[in-house]
Amino acid sequence: MRWDEVDELLRAALTKEVEEGAKGLAGLEERVIRELARRPVRRSFWERVREFLSRPTPRWALVGALAALLLGFALGRLTAPSPVPQWSPNLFVIAAPGAKSVAVVGDFSAWQPIPLSDPDGDGIWSASIPLPPGRYEYAFLVDGKWVGQDPLAEEYLRTFGEYVSVRYIGGGRANPSS
């Protein structure tokens, strides 16, 4: 079954789901109005913030400790050297100078982000992911921003209004570097 057919099924199923449940919304307007008319005026957000800040609380200490821990972890990551991988069909690489975080997502990882690294700080981020032969759809996330067109990809697909790259490993299509 093609992906667009899955999309159509999803739309139809959700329409039915909501239609059935929405039957219970009859008279909601009146219930909302009745409830609003009954409720007293709420205190503003700032009034509540002022009250919260005026109370001595150990939460601030906890937040401070957590921030210090995260800072230490980040500094440790920045200073730890890591080897630069050799190019291979399994190497995912992207130029992203100045980026804070880069990851690759794809069907090989169930679209979970796999972080890329830039050990020498030259803006070239990479990760080598051992994959069995096959066709793989993927994209990069650069500081959370979707980058769907990898120059090393063999083809692109458009889905959810954005591109994803396609790479064939171990045959099927020509290697882009050859």
């Binding site: 959700l14 909501v18 919304l25 307007e29 008319a37 209004g161």
Partner: protein, 212 residues
């Protein structure tokens, strides 16, 4: 039937002259239909009848948001009601630079997430999810029933993006705004959700494994 005007208050609300405030809309900057703008202005002045009209227009869409997070009709109905109450109480914070529906869905998503957290604290294990009588499913398209089950069984973070994309037809950036997520995260969740649903349908023999 209750007439909304019974609840109308006669005390007008005095707006603060804030940038982007709904009441600046007369300057032609609003991305809101004039009729809807009027309803919101009346609501801000305490006219609950006008807010009732907003509820009527958006209740199904808001319900779809809360249902996607709570997976339970009764809880989603309660959350929908709470969302409209919360939105009314915070209407002064609504900024014209945002689409009204996006802002309203954001409020609804937050209300539903809070309800979900509360439900997890109070009742464990969670309520059984909208199980259907198998006899009833005979009359329903088998594929659709399987897709509905697969969507219901999706992990919680994936359902709302799926509903907002496929049911509301929102673009990825707007879904990110509603759920407070970067657009990239929304895209990965959509991809993952669709792959999970497809795998489930293949596993159940509802569709074949080949991708065209």
């Amino acid at each position: 039937m209750v007439r909304f005007s019974r609840f109308r208050t006669d005390v007008p609300w005095k707006p603060r002259p804030e940038k982007g405030c709904i009441l600046d809309a007369g300057k032609g900057e609003a991305a809101l239909p004039a009729e809807e703008l009027e309803l919101i202005q009346r609501s801000l002045n305490g006219d609950l009848e006008a807010w009732g009209e907003i509820v009527s227009r958006y209740k199904e869409a808001v319900f779809a948001v809360t249902l996607s997070i709570l997976r339970n009709y009764a809880d989603a109905e309660d959350a929908t009601q709470d969302a409209f109450i919360r939105a009314y109480q915070n209407l002064r914070k609504y900024d014209l630079s945002r689409k009204f529906s996006t802002w309203l869905f954001t409020v609804a998503a937050n209300v539903a997430k809070n309800a979900l957290r509360k439900r997890r604290r109070e009742r464990e294990p969670p309520l059984p999810e909208m199980d259907k009588d198998p006899a009833e499913e005979v009359h329903e398209d088998i594929k659709l029933a399987a897709v509905r089950r697969a969507v219901t069984e999706l992990p919680e973070p994936y359902r709302a993006p799926v509903v907002l994309y496929y049911w509301h037809g929102l673009p990825v950036e707007e879904i990110g705004e509603v759920l407070g997520l970067p657009a990239g995260t929304v895209k990965t969740r959509l991809h993952r959700a669709r792959a999970l649903i497809r795998a489930k349908l293949v596993e159940q023999g509802v569709i074949r494994d080949a991708v065209g």
